[in-house]
Amino acid sequence: MSMTATAANPETETVDLYDHEWKHPTVVAGVPWKNPVGTASGTFQYAAVRWFYDVSQLGAVTTKGVSPVPWEGNPGVRTAEGPACNINAVGLQNPGVDHYLVDDLPKLKKIGANVVSNVAGHCDDDYAEVVAKLADSPADMLEINVSCPNVGAGGMSVGADPVALSRLITRLRKMTDKPMIVKLTPNVTDITVPARAAVEAGADALSLINTIVGMRINTRTGKPIIDHVTGGVSGPAVLPIGLARVWQVRSALPDIPIIGIGGIDTGEKALEYLYAGANAVEVGAAALFDPVAPLRVACELDDLLDDRPELAAKLAEGKTWR
């Protein structure tokens, strides 16, 4: 057995990574993506990733969630490892929308990136304040993170409360004509309920799944590894769960653009999401374990689509396999 077999897809990490010419674009809610692969919010910081590749090569760059004012996030240990996964409890630390508007966003637009601006909030007013500022910005799409604990949903995530979600998205919809993606949490009984609520309230697209609640315990101390106790699980382990959620939402809503997220670290896994009914995908945790993972997935997928002209044609028209 080759020792490198379990390394990060070394066989495909060639010079092509930096000179790839894109063959198979997609369209998400009317916005052209040069390929169906973007970054997942929370795993992309331009200041960190820019040293590793030209991020404008991705189908889209989804930036970290921004709030009206800077948020410090959670103190102490924020992460633990699980089997084939990462558990994170950042607590949405971010420097606030004003900083974003003068720093990351203009820098990304300057290099020609297709930017999806992720929006976070603890109450409807938080989201509204951020969306108001992004409405006049050069952001290409907005992604509303409805997994944050929300005072308007009794401390639960607004994405788990269809009434609160509908109220929020209805309000935000009136504030901007920018394509608005709602990022759904998988921590619900039936994801098609918030999916439908978001779409009926005016969402142009859905992205799913956000992370799954999980934790680890230190067996030497008997205490949780993460100071916040629980965090969000992402990484290879969640692939089957993400695929099922995308399948369910596509079955319930045949026409809404969907961005598939969860456990993608190869072009082949991205392809599974496209067959499940996604128009595009986002690569998250894999980028923590190798910064170029989103670009590598995009290159691999682009080549896999060569042999699947029917799927590639549908994507290029903004349609999906299912």
């Binding site: 379990t6 990060a8 930096y18 910081q45 960190a48 590793f52 590749y53 490892e81 374990f289």
Partner: protein, 268 residues
Amino acid sequence: MTHGKAVVDAAVSHGFFPPRHTVEIADIAELDAGVVRMTIRDPYIAAHGRPAQFVDFFTHDPMKPMPRPFGISEIQDDLVSFIFAVVGKGTGEFAELKAGDVIDVMGPLGHAFDTKAPANYVLVAGGLGVPPLIHAAQHIAGDENSESTAVFGYRKNHFADEYVDRYADRTYSIDESEGNVVTLLDRIEDELKSGDLPPVILSCGPLPMMKAVASWAAKRDIPCQLSLEQRMGCGYGTCVLCTTDTVNGRLKVCADGPVFTREQLGWE
């Protein structure tokens, strides 16, 4: 190791920092019970690594996908050495590797100690905090305007003395049978004050030790740079999972650090 070289060359030729890549283990040995010194062959990291910078190591087990960051301890030609403790299953797996095996790495990462000013750099390490200070000694040995004084504290065996001795102008070490690094600092305080060069403390080790060192330095108005540890998610600044509270807010240990000044940390 064609593969690792190809990845690195491709990135560099396109103006980018090398991503995760596969390198060969040139040497691996146990220095002390549960303490391992590993040397990899990596021309890029060897050329660019500076003291207190670290490298992400990845296990061969995809069930453990997260990076294990190790501080660089020495660089010789294309060879880069690290010293780490076996603290869990990931590091346990590393300890089982043999010379000639391969391993995935990414680096160098983080900010180095600032050793530009001429000074007597006092390298205060506790336990497994030794690597960046051995590397600092090596770095400073190449700077004719500065000198270094190693102050190493161990639980028991003085396993790193022979490495820092190669480079430091003076090495003092102590173990728990006799005291700790502050005991040593007290002993050599007069010597530090009376030297031709102003002392500057660089330190790495357990948090309580570093706080004690920072406090010692604060009382004597000696500049103090501290290299922190924290559980990391990526090591290169994208995930914001490894933070520390500073006077400038909650900052990333991997990308804003790992080196912070005592003043930045607000440690009195």
